[in-house]
């Protein structure tokens, strides 16, 4: 048969070019060598991803912004266009996973029928099986009762078949044949996992909700609103965080449909959305209270007068956290106060300052300030360098405002009255950080985990065992021949050792039902003797 003929299908037709491509691809993907190569490629890509790409601080869009003035530099071009921003979400890595999935699928299709047959059939031994090197043979004078051994095997979960032929009774028994499907389940399970993972990575979203007690936030694409009732951080006596808990209420319209406490390992799940207790932080622009320490005059008549030198400067926009607050002149303050008095200011309250005509109110809080273009702005959301704008009133009139800095008590700035004053401390407002995420494809992931776990258990914790037994009358006695399929006839010594140790312990007990207990076999595996 020439090469041309070999390309014809079973009906003698020449396959279409597409069919040939499909067949070639199927041959490639179902080849275990291809699967091993892809596994190695995925492993190498993962190693490079975590040890190289993840360690490059500037890549992708970040590099584009950071090196905006050096875009022509080849290294910068490399960082922007070649080094992926997310090594495990880039097209290259996803392609590798997709190839691995296709390989798994092709392998499963290729091996399915063979494994299925192995799992579900109870084959009879070949004609010469008991004469081969793997059989164990005993001679006994006692007539074996077939029910003894069959009951024994059935009690041990073997599926048993028997037949009588030419004066010999042959028994074939299989246990845990389903174990053969373990490989199919693990491959399919992994396939489902990859499908679910890729789906989730491409279609899922996650966002942070930073909420203060009393705040509400809509849950996207639903009618529901989540309200934070309370947020608390539980500490140990040693000052370590024991837990952080968000007490929430879920509203649908005007109806509360659920109330619960979200903790780190206890998310709230609602219509395919999950809310996780992910983080917490200090509110960057709000405080519960501020303690101001000021040097109160002993005699009210000595009360300071308002500072008039800064009237021409713009006033900060009241109440706006990131307002373009002007940067007024510096007014040094001594640390030592003759008559220190502490007042606690709460948002929205005015508090009279002892022995002065003034009242003070907290206007703005910035958890971390920076000076930008002569203005005080929010630098970050971390409590690194807090600043407080305090407004001063005389009667109902606002007479000025001064910025006080927690870490720089001697350097208040502003146009408030000349009172020696500093911030003694403050009580922050804590925000809970809830991560709102959707998980499209999670059903596939769960299915994958379940199927793959089943496959792993079948593959590693169950072993398919086959026992073939034959009993026949021979020379005035009874001959028992046992073949426990799976011993290696290529290595007789090894086969016998394996047989002795574990494989046939059960089968020997079965044979013991038919022979005098403790009797040694007349022939071990590996001893070739045609019977």
């Amino acid at each position: 048969m020439d090469t041309q003929d070999q390309r014809l299908d079973v009906k003698g037709r020449r396959p279409s070019p597409l069919g040939e491509v499909v067949r070639a691809l199927y041959g490639l993907f179902s080849d275990p060598r291809f699967a091993i190569i892809i596994i190695i490629a995925v492993a190498i890509a993962s190693i490079l991803g975590i040890l190289v790409v993840d360690q490059v601080p500037f890549r992708g869009e970040v590099a584009r912004q950071h090196f905006a003035d050096r875009q022509s530099d080849p290294m910068v071009w490399l960082l922007i266009h070649v080094v992926p921003a997310h090594p495990f979400r880039c097209l290259f890595f996803r392609t590798l996973l997709a190839l691995l999935s296709l390989s798994l699928l092709a392998c499963v299709i290729k091996r399915w029928r063979h494994l299925w047959r192995q799992a579900l059939t109870i084959p009879w031994p070949p004609a010469n099986a008991f004469g081969g090197r793997g059989a164990v043979v005993w001679q006994t004078d006692r007539e074996p009762l077939e029910s003894d051994v069959i009951d024994f095997l059935k009690r041990r979960l073997f599926v048993v078949r028997q037949r009588k032929q030419d004066g010999a009774l042959t028994v074939t028994a299989v246990r845990f044949g389903i174990a053969k499907l373990g490989a199919v389940f693990t491959h399919l399970g992994f396939l489902f996992l990859v499908i679910g993972g890729l789906w989730m990575a491409s279609s899922g979203f996650s966002t942070y909700l930073w909420l203060r007690p009393g705040d509400r936030a809509e849950i996207p694409e639903t009618d529901a609103v989540i309200e934070l009732v309370d947020f608390r951080i539980e500490m140990t006596p040693q000052g370590r965080i024991a837990d952080y808990i968000s007490e929430v209420r879920l509203w649908e319209g005007t109806r509360v449909i659920r109330e619960m406490e979200i903790e780190v390992n206890t998310p709230l799940r609602y219509k395919g959305r999950s809310l996780y207790q992910s983080s917490y932080r200090q509110d960057p622009t709000a405080v519960r209270s501020v303690d101001l320490v000021f040097d109160a005059p002993l005699d009210p008549s000595e009360s300071p007068v308002g500072h008039q030198g800064l009237q021409d400067m713009d006033r900060p926009a009241e109440g706006h956290p990131d307002a373009d607050s002007p940067m007024p002149p510096h007014k040094p303050v001594t640390e030592v106060f003759a008559n220190p008095v502490t007042v606690t200011l709460r948002p929205g309250e005015r508090v009279a300052l002892e022995n002065t005509p003034y009242a003070a109110a907290i206007d703005t809080f910035l958890v971390d300030f920076r000076i930008d273009g002569g203005r005080i702005r929010l630098a970050s959301h971390e409590p690194r360098n807090p600043a407080f704008l305090v407004n001063f009133f005389e009667g109902d009139s606002l007479i000025g405002g001064t910025w006080y800095f927690l870490l720089h008590p001697g350097m208040p700035v502003g146009d408030g009255p000349d009172i020696a004053m500093r911030v003694g401390g403050y009580d922050p407002v804590m925000q809970t950080g809830l991560e709102l995420a959707t998980h499209p494809g999670s059903a596939w992931v769960w299915l994958g985990i379940g199927v793959m776990s089943l496959g792993t258990i079948l593959s590693f914790f169950l072993r398919r065992e086959r026992v073939w037994l034959r009993v026949r009358a021979r020379e005035g006695a009874w001959e028992l021949a046992l073949l426990h399929v799976g011993t290696s006839p290529q290595d007789p010594g090894f086969a016998r050792a394996e047989w002795e140790k574990s494989v046939t312990s059960l089968a020997v007990k079965a044979v013991d039902k038919w022979k005098p207990p403790g009797g040694s076999p007349d022939r071990w595996p590996g001893q070739s003797q045609e019977t």
Partner: protein, 271 residues
Amino acid sequence: MNQTFDVTLFTIAFAVYVAVFAGFLLRNLTRRTVFGWIGVAGLLVGSVLQIIAFFVRWNLSGHIPLVSMHEYSSVMSWMAAGTLAITIFRTRRFELGTYVSPIVIAIMAMASLLPTQINQQLVPALQSYWLYIHVSMAALGEGAFAVSCGISIYYLVRERRRTATPAELARIDVLNHRAISIGYPLFTLGGLFAGAIWAYNAWGTFWSWDPKEVGSWIIWLFYTGYLHARFQRGWRGRPAAILSIIGFAMVILSFVGNLFLGGKHAYEDVG
């Protein structure tokens, strides 16, 4: 610094394992079986001491001691020592002790170099029953990989010195495979799946490509490749032994990587 009782027990177990190695060496030099049995007995004593230390530490900390790297590697070494004892007991291959017990000692040494202080308060993310399942199974699985690595070294030495028949080498190869057959499902079910389910509950995602996750993924891929090479391509004997050694080297790299790469899995000792 005051040492807690569990650390004292751990140190004694460490010393016992060193003596075990000496016992197996003596057995190899003198060919007297009694030294081999002393080694096996030592492995059992060390394992029991580690079990007691584990429960003492549990009692002192108020939570299962599977949180710090010291605790993790301690469980890993216990698994390796216990598996070695059972393997030698069943196979009577005392030479294995000479090759596997140094690995147990190395893991113990690594554990003893890591911070041993007890943190009584678990960080919120670890307050879950998944801690019991995920970390214990991963540590036990990696302990089995350690044994397979030792057996592989034994295989390569015997093969190189030509002191073993092909049948004997085949038996050693099967032992190596059995160790991996214990470690792989434990690692898959506990290290990967239980971890993924826990992460889904705690962090909102099954998988976040955290350095530790990537390390586990690579280890899993590697042993998966090993199994495919063995069953599909017939890689047994020397290639399988070499793969097994490389696999355990990856386990150690992933473990030590926690110290440098940090990430979500750096809880008690680093990060």
